[in-house]
Assembly symmetry: C2
Homo-oligomer: 328 residues x 2
Amino acid sequence: MNAPAVDPAVARIVEAGGPQIPGLLAAVEERLAAVARSHGAVLAEHASATIAAGGKRLRPLLVLLAAGPDAVDADAVRAAAAVELVHSATLVHDDVLDTASLRRGRPTVWATAGRGMATATGDLLFSRAFAELAANDSVEQVRVLSWASSALAHGELVQREDAWRTDVTLDRYLFRCELKTARLFEAACRLGALVKGAGADPDALEALGRFGHHVGLAFQLLDDILDVSGPAEKTGKHRGTDLLDGTVTLPFILARERDPELASVDGRSIDTPERAEAICDAIAATGALEAARERALGIVAEAKAGLPDLPQRPALELVADGVVERYS
Amino acid sequence: MNAPAVDPAVARIVEAGGPQIPGLLAAVEERLAAVARSHGAVLAEHASATIAAGGKRLRPLLVLLAAGPDAVDADAVRAAAAVELVHSATLVHDDVLDTASLRRGRPTVWATAGRGMATATGDLLFSRAFAELAANDSVEQVRVLSWASSALAHGELVQREDAWRTDVTLDRYLFRCELKTARLFEAACRLGALVKGAGADPDALEALGRFGHHVGLAFQLLDDILDVSGPAEKTGKHRGTDLLDGTVTLPFILARERDPELASVDGRSIDTPERAEAICDAIAATGALEAARERALGIVAEAKAGLPDLPQRPALELVADGVVERYS
């Protein structure tokens, strides 16, 4: 199985990361396919579809880059696969909860096989992620991944708890982003640094972890901004889907402070795509999108500035730039 | 928090297991409650309810007994909590899939908080199970638990794949029981034997694992027999709920070989409680319930005969007897 087609930004990162990266990314795909095949035909079908629909492999790439050129290849590949398995498991469960028929243009497991198969598929991918790390013989890696996967589930709880609450504070929003996105990015970088042979000293490990955290946070902020700013041609969906789902994000939080009329909007009144688009326009009119974007760019700058002076620094900087570029 | 009320069979096992067992079981409850409290108020509410509804704590008891009197207490407690967390996670997800309102007389997370909260609660309990084992500093324990939790999810897939198929073979049925029940029981015994200080040699480890496997298998067979035999006063539900769910189990498989009329029944035609009860009567008339029970008792005897000569042997034998007693 070949690595999926990569976009130009990812191609540049792969190039800067060193000659070993393309081969390792292909090995991660092999590893993911092998896991999908390992529990019978039904899982193979559903898990393969999910994994194939997984997108840009940003998290495995972070693992491989953080691991650096001297890491033991098989260990780096297993750690990268483990992070992607947790990410895939979350996507399968999210599709069940959102009753989503398509993800990246492909039918979801929920759509083709139903709720039961999809829930079990997600559970299996979770379990197999930990088996990958056990094969790396590293309790520390297990600790890092279980910390991140606990955070993902906790973030989902927080999001549901806060649904339709327009009084969500900035701190609460950032906490949710940390749980739902930043910690898995941080875990990817930490896992890379912990791989056998990576040779990261404790300071570099912490610095790489902070880098991943900031990149993940910026990734989520920019994603949330895009949902309000559109255009629909870029996102493939109407503007304001988060508002329709009752999820309050940074642009709305900032706009509310600037526009008393927005501050008085009841979240549940946003119940049609037209109404959601109108609220998006009102948010944009306050300048909140620029303010939110500025905050995200500041976080990316912080991520890059804090990188330790390692051989993989240029490639990691490109990852940070690529996250911004994706949303510009 | 005190240990929940235990039934007399469990009380005898606790007594035979040694003076340390009641304190350790109480410590497991404390540990489970601490995990439930560790991710905010919403999780605390839902996870606590699930954990409290968890029943007899048979799996943690197996961990503690297999660990023996010389194991390090804190490690044995964490391993026992980890197994129960995986079991609880499975129950929460099962309740979502079955849209079950009550479990052991208490409202399920699905019923009180909805699908999203319940799925995330299950995911969090899974993740925290691995964090417990990481705290035990044992990659081998992580490996054993991820093997068992993968099997649980795989078993769920197999069950859904086989739904409404009346031609399920005996081997296929036993494979499903192995995945859905026996491997977590086996993992409980292996984890106990692997706990720091347990001092099980490789032969004892394997023998304890086989014991757990057999006890788990018998547990599932007897549970499936009870669903057909009733009485409803004992199970709290109509006879034949498995048949109504499209789940073919041992009594039906054996009865089909004995009664051509049963062999020609279409699973989907069993669509009312009355029809299910009638099929249960037809199964009972073939003598298949006695044959199934004999098979289960043979597995229990095999479990007991294979136990190594350890101080905890009498208590483990009582566990095996207790599984039979529960269903007699």
